[in-house]
Symmetry: C2
Subunit: 129 residues, 2 copies
């Protein structure tokens, strides 16, 4: 089935270009974000966007490593740095029938990297989570 939108391709374009309009096009309006830090999900594209815009600013020297794909989504492994802390993580991306990102979960390791990310995102979003 030809999908209307290739949400994964748009996501990769967003990571390269950091254009909020590309991110907006990648996300479903009812997209849900699961932060690596907080249990409670973030609901709706408008609420999700600041987290993903923040993540690409805070995660320095960002590069993707292994990718594990299936028709309705993918797990993208990444390596990055927050200040002097190494962060390894995964983006777990679920696509809806239209091809847009409907669910986006992030998990990172090790604990020191998670803490550095928590502090950096808290500063950026103006709230310590």
């Amino acid at each position: 089935m030809q999908q209307a939108v290739d949400g994964l391709a748009l996501w990769h374009q967003f990571v390269r270009e950091r254009d909020p309009l590309v991110l907006e096009a990648a996300l479903a309006e009812d997209a849900v974000f699961h932060s690596p830090v907080v249990y409670k999900p973030v609901n709706g594209r408008a609420a999700v966007m600041p987290y993903l815009l923040g993540a690409v600013r805070v995660l320095e020297d960002f590069s993707y490593a292994r990718a594990f794909s299936r028709d309705d989504g993918a797990v993208l492994e990444f390596n990055a740095r927050v200040g002097d802390r190494s962060v390894q993580g995964v983006d777990i991306i679920q696509l809806n029938a239209e091809g847009r990102i409907s669910d986006f979960a992030v998990m990172v390791r090790p604990a020191s990297g998670l803490e550095a990310l928590r502090l950096a995102m808290g500063r950026l979003l103006g709230v310590i989570q």
Copy 2:
């Protein structure tokens, strides 16, 4: 190519049965483990086994959710609980040419779940990491 061993099937059998001999058969002798807590990898089957034996004891109500597979590995998403803390995570499993698990990385969310897991594994292994 027919592989000598189906490391992923053995891993699933180990999760069900918790038999150390099954885990031993699943792992390559030079297997590497990347803990969700500590940056430094754990090298070699004998050193890796206590972490995975411990994980299946500490993670209660464990169940796998989405799986993202490819020929040489898989990402297995799981849901579990440590005490009263929810833990969501991924097992990122790499197989060698023989079909055995050569690399095993775990990442979990949220931060409260990671901390509960760190404490529980520390108690079990007799060392606070």
